[in-house]
Each structure stands twice: as structure tokens, then as C-alpha cells.
């Protein structure tokens, strides 16, 4: 089965835009009831469900004369089309203003020509509903009880009804009869405007439940998917030609070529090509294929590579039924994505279409394509587009295919003009089509499209040639946009000064765009939104230059946005004014999803750090923001800390000191402190939350806090405490019979024991984990258990035993689809070979590990591997290569701030200096490693730092200092069970004593070392001691 069925039946967009049709004067109270009471409640409710709400009442808020000017009929009909399928019709006892000579006014609505003599209201009802039976479910009619008029003052009653026996009263009666017989939903005889309001609200709530509640409970990814596909659908309408590229794409799908990247300047048609190809791809005979489209910038957060990758993973997981965790941490996510693609490729073909990768947020190497593996399985077919910049460079460095889209040819332009106008029931004389097609500027599809859109709005038949030539007098798309923008300004500012400028600047300054009601609120005056009647003509004219994505209106292209900014936002102050307006508006509106998305972002842009901190401290705001966009919150805090002296810790001091009073935000603050590295503070809060959960008998949260606490303790190097907690949890899970949770705790415990250097104990724990995993048939847990056993055995120098487990560990890892684990297990072999002194042999394993780490983007392990490799090169006297590896490892380490692996890199660097006979430099490295290891409680690293420091001091002739460290090393190894290192330490210490001419002590230690080495089968050392001291010779 192919998953693109959604392409043909697009899921519903999360937007309700409803048209209100009524007569003018007699329905003022009803319209007020809707505008002031019903619609604000609906808007709030929709917001809570993530639905965009807008109502279009072209008669609300404007004087009747404006309606009577008659220029609005075409606007009304166009707006009805935009609002489909939602419609509200209200009728009292008035028929409304009659239309005269409507044919020339509404050239796009041919049917109206035969409708002379009907009122505007009937024309709306006909166009909106009665001529379109498919509106049945979403159109509502309300007839007012005629008795209502009797309750009004007698002098006003006449305005509320047609005189009996007139043509208008007959037409009204006829219209009502047709509506009653149409089967559309009708409330026949509401008592008064308030009762009307209640009924509308009831009907709309029911509509809302019916349309969106079910969607809410489904896959949250479905809506985003729908939005991308809807965006593709819009784009595909404007694409033309490009047959060669389409054929190339078809071929690319069947081959095994690396990813393909289309490039070219903005507006050349990259996105449209992709959309057209995707939507036109034949669906037959494509079994087991999944296509995922992602248009960067098309939806909120779509420019964030993490969000994009997670979205892809969710969609692929759902289709191929793969269960994977989605890590939040970027490095982990990248690694997970790489191995995920490998696994998914085994299940079927995946086509990833990602448009506009140059518009991704510049973070974590997103623009250098760090989120994509350098090599991909054949079954993963990727097509990308980018205008310019680093993505192109990255693609070229990877030897990926890049195709530059050429400008449109003259025949293609001609075809586009004819097809585009024909779709809108327009036609140009051949001569004018030729003028347009031959103009060089029209080689850019974006230019051509904007020109045609403009001609549709302003074109006058007799002056068309002149107008076309005038537009073609500009040379670039920016100039064309300036011309269009100035025309907007001149044409649409009659009722509201600077309407076009303000509307477009607000949209340009908004983060993701604005909903129509938001825009109207911002454009209005004194708390009154701008009437629809003033806005609608501009909105209709903006078609093509703005795009409505699930209710959020935004500028459709970067080039148009650039033109708006250059023309109307030339200085920072002007831009700041618009940003302040947006900020104030959303802050006054209260805390909702839209405010959470806009306010902190605007405050960051305005560098209003104090206000930003205040917002981030606000409990309601933080809670909602943490639930909806936690990455944003982390990002804001990074900016705050970088630009001010304010730290997260101090900002949430009140939560730390009075957690009980700040329960609502304790969880978000806990997570924020943890991910930001404030581990001690996080621990305090975690402790409180655990106790609170216990008091409340909240078992689930108690377990979560307890596990969090253990992990924080482990991070802080408080291994014993962490172990105690894991042990406690383990007991609880055992009692409850939750075997998989027990295995998880065993895994945590074993890893901590290994960090402590208690390899023997760790081994026992991982063996138990193995048994449990075996019984449960969990490949993932079994892989972890076996891999950890190998690690423990390697640390204990039990290489033979480690090697005996490796084949099984690899089989299980492959079965679990955990390619990362496979590589880790192989990397143990490399480490073993190094420890055995087989440096040359270890290199292929290290190279393999390095390649995998680079591919998966696992910088942490890459640093360790580079350090090992450097050490091996140094041992082999390949100093230049060693030096290069160190340089890269250290630069990665500094950039990433991996504190816990700095000691091991320092140790490797020290070994390198030793090899170069730069002993003093080596000693400094080891001493730093020693200090850090002590601080972080890293036992293995501490042992290595002590040992190597002692060796270097010995070489430098500082024998007394060396001896001191060596004796500490012996005690340390004895105490913590570093058996093999203990033997080595005894051996080297005996050498040292020998050099100090403390022969008797030297001999004593040498003998102990010899016995221990024999006991542990450490043949090499035993042999060396035998030769050196001729033990057992006599």
C-alpha cells in the first residue's frame, strides 16, 4: 500500500472562516450580538483546539452608504467563495437592497447576469448556498419571529419590515419558502437577538465538535502532514513545464543515485516543481513506498531541523510500524535519525521531498546538512531544493547530484500565460501574450505570476497593452513588487489610511503570520477591529502575494517580504514600532497558544530582555509554552543568558525556594534546569516534587521524579547515591512484577558501577539484565546487556571472554535494528587491540568507528575515537596524523562542552606528548585530567591520569613525585578492584623503586606483581617480570 492517499483527499484544514449574510439596517443588533459575544467565545474555543477562527461580515462596522455604493457585490461573492463551506444567513421581514445592472460588475460570476431584480442578500444566499447543495452540512439559516417587531418602538417598526403586498415582500416570502424547502439547517422564528446569539453558538459548537474533535484525538502529525500537502497543492497549481526535470525525477526514484538537489534563484519554480511532481506521481504500481513532503517555512516550526526530522520519523514510524524513541537532544536526535533511516529502508522505499533547506534555522549545522547522513541506503530517495548558500556547498562536497533550474523558455512562458488566465476565465490577445512571453523578466516564474495576478486586478481591456508595457518596464522582481505595493497603497487606503502598508508590515514583522481577526484587530482603532468591508478588497487583491496556512496569513515568498521590508521598513525604528504593536496586542489578549508563539519571540527581536524574563517567569505562560514549544523556551533562555547577567537559576529562584507555592511550573522549571546544566538546583526541585508526589499518593509521578533524581545524581558523579535510588526502584518494580522496568534499572545500575570502575559487579548486574531480557524476548534490552558486558570485560582486560560474547551481541543488536550498538560493539574490539599493544591492527576498527560516528553525527563518541586514533598514530610514530586527530578532537570538545570526556582526551594528548618526548607538556595534561576526574568522580580516567602522570614524572627524573602518585594508584586500584591496572601499577612501581635504589622494596613489589600477574593470566607482565628478575629461573 502507498501512503499518499491523503494527496487526493486532503485532510481538513484547521480553519473555520464563516460568511455572515443578512439585510443591513434591521439586523444591526443580531450582527452586534455575533461580533461582540458569540464570535469572541468561538474564537477562544477554536484557539484552544488549535483551529483558526474568522468571520466575514461585510456589513458590520461600516455605514450603509458604503454598501449602497454597490462596489462590494463582487467582493461579497468572492468572499463567500473563500469562506466555503461555512455560511450563516439571517432573515427578518426585509428583503434588502435590489441589484441593478449586475452583469458588468461581477464578470467572474456569470450566473448573476440573469439575476437582475434580486437583492444583494438573496444574491449572497443563492451564490453561497442555494446554488451549491454541497454546503448542506455547514450552512445555517435563522428567521426572526415577525412578532419581535411588535416589541420595538412604533416609530422604528417600519424600518424592520417591507410594506405588505409589495414586490419586495413577495420576493422575501418566496426566498423564505425556498430555504424552508431546501433542507438546509434552519431556525424558523427566533424570539430576539439574544436568543439568536444562543442558537448560533449552539449550532457552531456542534459543528466544531463534529469537524474537529475526532481529529484532535488522532495522530498530531496528521495535521502537519495535511498542511504540507495542502501547501503543495497550492504550489502545484502554478507550476508549468519542466518536463525534463519531471522525467529526471521519475528516473531518480527508480535508481540508486545519491540525493538530488534542485537549485536556482528565488521564484524560479523549485518548490512548484517538487509539489507538482509529488502530486502528479502515479500511484499505481508503487507498493511499499512512503512519500514524505516537507516545505520549509510552510508551517509553524517547519524551519527547525529537529522538528522536521521528528516529523519525518513519526510519519515513517507510523507507516512502517517502527517503534523508536525521539530524543530531544540534537546530537542524540541526529544519531537516532541516521540509524532510523537504515532500519526503515529495510521495510520499504521512502521518498523524502524537502523544499527550501536553505531556509532552515542555522543551528547545529542544519545548513551544512549535518542532519542528513553522508551516505544513504538505496531505498531512501531524497530530493531537496535550495536557492543558494551552504546547503549547496555541503551537497557538492558529498558528491550529491545538483541540478540548476533554468529560467522559463519562451514557449513555456506562453503556455503558462494562457493556462493561468484560462483557469480564471480570462484570455489575452495573442499579441499581448507574445509581448509578455518574450520579455526577459518573465523567464522567472515568480515575476510572471505576479504580473498576471496584477493584470487580473487592474487590467482594463482597452489599456491592456499599455499597462503590460508599463509593468514590463521594470527589470527585476523587486522593482515589480515596489510597483505593485505602491499601487496597493494608492488603491486600498480610501477607507483606512495606510491600510496596505500597515497590513503587510505587520505580516512581515510577525513570526509565523497573523490570523485574519488578529490582523483586523491590529488594523482597527480604539479596540474596534477593522471592518471586513475595508479589508476584503485588499485581501482579494493580495492573492498570490500572501498565503493562508491554516488560518495564518503570511507573505508568500521571501522576495515579496524583502520588497515590503525595503520599501516600508527601511529603518530599524519603524520595524520596532510594528513589533511593539504586535507584542502589546498579544500581551493584552492574555495567555494562549498564539501569544506564546509571538510575544517572547517579538521581545527577543526587540531586545526587551527584562520583559522577556518576566514573561518566561509567568506561571501560566511558562506552563503553556513548555507544553507547546519547549525548544523555543530553551532558545530564549540561551539568548537571555548571553545578553544579560540574568541566569535561569536566579530567575526561578522563587520556584526553588518555595516550590509548594509554584507547583504549576515546577515540572517545566525542573526540566529547564536539567537540560541547561543546573544539576544541583534541579536535584533540589526533583527532591521536592518526589516528596510532593508521595504525599499526594501520586505513584506515577513519584517514580518519574525518583528516576530523574538518580540520573541527576549520576550526572553529578554521586554514584553511590544514584545507585541506592536505582536499587530502590528496582526493588519496587520487582515487587510489582514489572520485569522490563527492572531490566531498565539494572542497566542504569550496571553503567554506574562501570563508571565507578567496579567492573566485576557491573558484569554481574548486566548478566542478570541479560537473563531478564532473554526471558522477555527483548532484543533491545539483550543488546544493551551484552554490549555492556563486553565493555566491562574489556575494562577488566578479559579480552578472550569479551571476544566470546561479541558475536552474540552483534546478532542481537542487528535483530533489534540497533546499528549504533553494532558499531559500539565493534569499537570494543579496537580498544582491546590498543590495550594489547596491537596498534596497527586496531586502526581499521577505529576508522570504522570514526566513520560511523561522523555518519551518525555522534560527536561525543567521535571525540573519544579521535583521541584513541591519535594515540595509536603517536605510538606508530605517525605524529602528523596524531596531531591532526587531536586538533579535531579538542576543537569538537571545546565547541560541544563535553566535560566528562575532557579527561580522556587530555590523557590521550598526554600520551601523545610522551611519545614526542615532551614530558613536561604530558605531565600537565595528565595533571589536568587527574583534577577533572577527581571533580567529576570518573574513576577509570583518574586511574589512567595517575598512572600516566607517574610514568611521565619518572621519565623526567622526578622520581619522588612519581613514586607518590604510583603509590596512590596502587591503593586506588586495590580499593576499587582495578585488578589488571593494579598489577601494572605494582610492576611499574617496582621499577621506580629500583631506580630509587630501594632494591629490597623494588623486589618485594616485583614479586607481588609477578604472583598477581600469574594469577590473572597476565602473561605479558609475568613474562617481563620473569625476564627482568629471572623469577622461577633458579
Amino acid at each position: 500500500m502507498r501512503s499518499v492517499s491523503a494527496l487526493t483527499t486532503l485532510p481538513q484544514r484547521r480553519q473555520i472562516r464563516i460568511f455572515i449574510s443578512s439585510t443591513f439596517d434591521d439586523m444591526a443588533e443580531e450582527r452586534d450580538e455575533l461580533a461582540k459575544f458569540v464570535f469572541p467565545r468561538m474564537r477562544k474555543l477554536c484557539n484552544e483546539r488549535g483551529i483558526s477562527w474568522a468571520s466575514v461580515d461585510l456589513r458590520w462596522g461600516i455605514p450603509e452608504e458604503d454598501v449602497r455604493k454597490g462596489a462590494v457585490l463582487s467582493v461579497c461573492l468572492d468572499e463567500i467563495d473563500r469562506c466555503r463551506p461555512y455560511f450563516i444567513g439571517i432573515l427578518g421581514e426585509r428583503y434588502g437592497t435590489l441589484l441593478k445592472d449586475v452583469g458588468s460588475e461581477c464578470p467572474d460570476h456569470v450566473w448573476i447576469e440573469g439575476a437582475g431584480g434580486v437583492s444583494i442578500t438573496e444574491a449572497e444566499i443563492l451564490h453561497g448556498v442555494l446554488n451549491n447543495p454541497e454546503m448542506a452540512d455547514n450552512a445555517f439559516f435563522y428567521f426572526r419571529d415577525p412578532a419581535y417587531i411588535n416589541s420595538l418602538p412604533s416609530e422604528t417598526q417600519e424600518r424592520f419590515r417591507e410594506a405588505p403586498g409589495t414586490l419586495a415582500s413577495q420576493k422575501l416570502a418566496d426566498l423564505k419558502t425556498r430555504i424552508r424547502h431546501s433542507g438546509f439547517k434552519l431556525v424558523d422564528g427566533y424570539a430576539d437577538p439574544r436568543a439568536f446569539g444562543r442558537m448560533v453558538e449552539r449550532d457552531l459548537l456542534s459543528l466544531l465538535d463534529q469537524l474537529f474533535q475526532q481529529v484532535d484525538t488522532q495522530d498530531p502529525n496528521a495535521q502537519v502532514k495535511a498542511e504540507h500537502e495542502a501547501f503543495a497543492s497550492i504550489l502545484s497549481e502554478i507550476h508549468i513545464g519542466r518536463r525534463a526535470e519531471i522525467e529526471y525525477l521519475d528516473g531518480h526514484m527508480t535508481g540508486s543515485a545519491p540525493p538530488l538537489l534542485f537549485m536556482g534563484p528565488a521564484g524560479i519554480g523549485k518548490s512548484a516543481l517538487l509539489a507538482r511532481w509529488a502530486l502528479g506521481r502515479p500511484q499505481c504500481n508503487i507498493t511499499g513506498e512512503l512519500m514524505v513532503m516537507h516545505f520549509v517555512g510552510a508551517t509553524i516550526d517547519s524551519t527547525d531541523w529537529c522538528v522536521m526530522v521528528k516529523r519525518i520519523m513519526r510519519e515513517v514510524s507510523a507507516y512502517f510500524k517502527i517503534t523508536r524513541e525521539l530524543p530531544n537532544e540534537p546530537d542524540a536526535l541526529r544519531a537516532a535519525f541516521f540509524s532510523f533511516l537504515d532500519i526503515a529502508a529495510l521495510r520499504g522505499r521512502i521518498v523524502l521531498l524537502i523544499d527550501g533547506i536553505d531556509a532552515l534555522d542555522d543551528k547545529e549545522g542544519a545548513l551544512d546538512l549535518a542532519w542528513l547522513p553522508t551516505s544513504l541506503p538505496e531505498n531512501i530517495r531524497i530530493v531537496l531544493t535550495a536557492a543558494s548558500g551552504r546547503p549547496l556547498q555541503a551537497a557538492k562536497e558529498r558528491n550529491w547530484l545538483t541540478i540548476e533550474l533554468s529560467p522559463l523558455t519562451i514557449p513555456e512562458r506562453r503556455q503558462f500565460v494562457i493556462e493561468y488566465l484560462a483557469a480564471r476565465r480570462k484570455k489575452l490577445a495573442d499579441g499581448i501574450v507574445d509581448i509578455i512571453a518574450q520579455a526577459q523578466q518573465c523567464a522567472n516564474p515568480r515575476f510572471l505570476l505576479s504580473l498576471l495576478t496584477e493584470l487580473l486586478v487592474v487590467g482594463k481591456h482597452r489599456e491592456l497593452s499599455k499597462q503590460v508595457l508599463e509593468y514590463l518596464s521594470v527589470q527585476s522582481i523587486s522593482e515589480l513588487f515596489y510597483k505593485i505595493l505602491n499601487r496597493y497603497e494608492a488603491d486600498y487606503s480610501r477607507d483606512r489610511k495606510y491600510l496596505a502598508r500597515d497590513a503587510l508590515c505587520l505580516l512581515a514583522c510577525s513570526r509565523y503570520g497573523l490570523t485574519e481577526p488578529e490582523l483586523l484587530d491590529l488594523l482597527g482603532e480604539s479596540n474596534n477591529p477593522l471592518p471586513n468591508a475595508y479589508w476584503a478588497p485588499l485581501y482579494l487583491a493580495l492573492e498570490g502575494e500572501v498565503v493562508n496556512r491554516s488560518g495564518l496569513i503570511s507573505l508568500s515568498s521571501d522576495s515579496f517580504k524583502d520588497a515590503v521590508c525595503k520599501l516600508w521598513l527601511p529603518c530599524a525604528e519603524t520595524e520596532m514600532e510594528y513589533r511593539k504593536e504586535i507584542t502589546t496586542y498579544f500581551r493584552l489578549r492574555g495567555t494562549d497558544n498564539r501569544a506564546v508563539a509571538e510575544v517572547p519571540w517579538q521581545l527577543m527581536k526587540l531586545s526587551c530582555w527584562d520583559d522577556l524574563v518576566e514573561i518566561l517567569q509567568n506561571p501560566d505562560f511558562l506552563k503553556l509554552a513548555w507544553d507547546t514549544c519547549r525548544l523555543d523556551i530553551q532558545r530564549y533562555w540561551v539568548e537571555v543568558e548571553a545578553n544579560t547577567g540574568i541566569k535561569i537559576r536566579s530567575a526561578y529562584d522563587h520556584v526553588l525556594t518555595h516550590p509548594a507555592d509554584n507547583l504549576v511550573i515546577s515540572w517545566p522549571v525542573l526540566e529547564l534546569l536539567s537540560v541547561s546544566g543546573y544539576l544541583h538546583e534541579a536535584l533540589v526541585l526533583c527532591q521536592f516534587l518526589g516528596e510532593h508526589a508521595q504525599e499526594q499518593n501520586d505513584g506515577a509521578n513519584f517514580i518519574v521524579t525518583t528516576e530523574n533524581k538518580a540520573m541527576l545524581l549520576s550526572e553529578l558523579g554521586q554514584f553511590e547515591e544514584a545507585l541506592a535510588v536505582h536499587l530502590g526502584l528496582e526493588r519496587t518494580f520487582r515487587e510489582k512484577g514489572a520485569r522490563n522496568l527492572v531490566a531498565g534499572q539494572l542497566n542504569h545500575r550496571g553503567c554506574i558501577l562501570r563508571k565507578q570502575g567496579k567492573h566485576q559487579e557491573a558484569l554481574a548486574v548486566h548478566r542478570e539484565q541479560e537473563l531478564m531480557a532473554q526471558e522477555d524476548g527483548s532484543s533491545q534490552l539483550l543488546t544493551e546487556a551484552l554490549s555492556n558486558q563486553v565493555a566491562a570485560l574489556v575494562a577488566m582486560c578479559k579480552y578472550q571472554e569479551a571476544r566470546s560474547i561479541i558475536p552474540r551481541a552483534i546478532t542481537e543488536a542487528k535483530a533489534a535494528g540497533d546499528l549504533e550498538a553494532v558499531n559500539i560493539i565493534y569499537s570494543h574490539e579496537g580498544v582491546m587491540l590498543i590495550k594489547e599493544g596491537k596498534h596497527e591492527e586496531s586502526l581499521p576498527f577505529l576508522a570504522k568507528d570514526e566513520a560511523f560516528c561522523r555518519k551518525t553525527g555522534d560527536r561525543r563518541r567521535l571525540i573519544i575515537t579521535l583521541g584513541n586514533k591519535a594515540m595509536v598514530f603517536a605510538k606508530l610514530d605517525r605524529f602528523e596524523e596524531a596531531s591532526m586527530c587531536f586538533d579535531e578532537a579538542l576543537s569538537l570538545e571545546e565547541a560541544a562542552g563535553y566535560t566528562t570526556i575532557i579527561p580522556s582526551t587530555l590523557i590521550n594528548q598526554g600520551l601523545f606528548f610522551n611519545q614526542m618526548q615532551k614530558y613536561q607538556a604530558a605531565i600537565e595534561c595528565f595533571a589536568r585530567a587527574e583534577r577533572l576526574s577527581r571533580e567529576l568522580g570518573l574513576f577509570e580516567e583518574l586511574q589512567a591520569a595517575l598512572a600516566n602522570q607517574a610514568t611521565s614524572l619518572h621519565r623526567e627524573g622526578k622520581l619522588a613525585e612519581s613514586l607518590k602518585l604510583r603509590e596512590e594508584e596502587i591503593d586506588f586500584c586495590r580499593k576499587h578492584g582495578f585488578a589488571n591496572d593494579f598489577v601494572k601499577a605494582l610492576f611499574t612501581c617496582s621499577e621506580l623503586l629500583y631506580d630509587l635504589r630501594r632494591y629490597d622494596d623494588a623486589q618485594k613489589l616485583a614479586r607481588e606483581a609477578y604472583q598477581e600477574a600469574n594469577l590473572r593470566g597476565m602473561e605479558e607482565i609475568a613474562c617481563s617480570l620473569r625476564k627482568r628478575w629471572l623469577f622461577d629461573i633458579a
Binding site: 631506580d995 627482568r1028 633458579a1034
Partner: protein, 149 residues
């Protein structure tokens, strides 16, 4: 014994001291070769690295850079050997001052059936194990009777 030529490695000047550096596989041949070299100038050293330690010669005579580890493993020795003749006093003085861990003396094998003599390094003021190049027997040599005043 005829002294086979050792392999020349390099000449080095370190801190004003000049070293002629050689390598040889056989320690006895090395000692024989060193005996043929005469050094009169101070701070001039001829050194030969062998599998049984580094031997050298300077203006004070032949020396052994360091004792071998097993030379203090008294458990090895089955016989008691002895010093043959008078060792170079410069070497003994250096050993007494702990500048060097040994002085070179001519020793005789403790195995009565052998009785070979050769030069070897000995600890000052203690016992040292030596191995006869001919019969390979281990003997202990006590130097307690040599005292630098």
C-alpha cells in the same frame, strides 16, 4: 676474546657531554671492545647498548649504566662468588655517593667447577647477583667489605 665491532648509532652532545653511541647484541664482546678504547678527555663517553644493559667507557674506565633487575633477586643465586682484584675506585666512589647504582669489578664464578672471571656491575654495600657468561650459574657477590671513607 676478539672484540667484534659494535654498530655505530650516532654521536650526540648533551649538556656539554659528548656521547659516541653504539649497539651490540653480545655483552661480553661489548666489554672486550670497550676495553680496547681509550678515553682521556673529561665529559666524553663511549656507550654501547646491549640486551644486558648499557655499557660504556670514559676517562675513569668501563662502567655499567644500571644494574639489571634480576641482579638484586638474591633467590636466583646458588653460589657465592667473589671480587677478583681491585675495582676502579672512581666507580666505587660514584656508587657510594649514589650517583650510580653500581660499580664495575672483575668477579669470579662461585661454581667451583667453573671458576670463570669477567667484569660485572655490583651494588655498593650489599649483595648482587651475577651470572657467569660461561657456565650461566648465578652467584651472589657481597661488597660489604668495600667501604669508601
Amino acid at each position: 676474546m676478539e672484540a667484534a665491532e659494535p654498530r655505530h648509532i650516532e654521536n650526540k652532545v648533551i649538556d656539554g657531554k659528548t656521547y659516541e653511541m653504539y649497539e651490540h647484541d653480545d655483552v661480553e664482546q661489548t666489554k672486550a671492545w670497550l676495553a680496547t678504547r681509550t678515553v682521556t678527555q673529561p665529559l666524553y663517553y663511549i656507550t654501547v647498548r646491549t640486551l644486558q644493559g648499557t655499557w660504556g667507557v670514559d676517562k675513569d674506565g668501563i662502567w655499567l649504566a644500571n644494574l639489571l633487575s634480576w641482579q638484586i633477586n638474591l633467590a636466583l643465586a646458588k653460589f657465592s662468588g667473589s671480587i677478583h682484584g681491585t675495582p676502579s675506585m672512581a666507580g666505587v666512589r660514584y656508587a657510594a655517593m649514589k650517583i650510580s647504582d653500581n660499580f664495575v669489578a672483575t668477579v669470579s664464578c662461585g661454581d667451583p667447577s667453573c671458576g670463570s672471571i669477567w667484569q660485572d656491575g655490583l651494588r655498593y654495600g650489599g649483595e648482587t647477583v651475577v651470572r657467569c657468561p660461561k657456565c650461566k650459574a648465578f652467584s651472589r657477590i657481597d661488597t660489604a667489605n668495600i667501604i669508601v671513607i
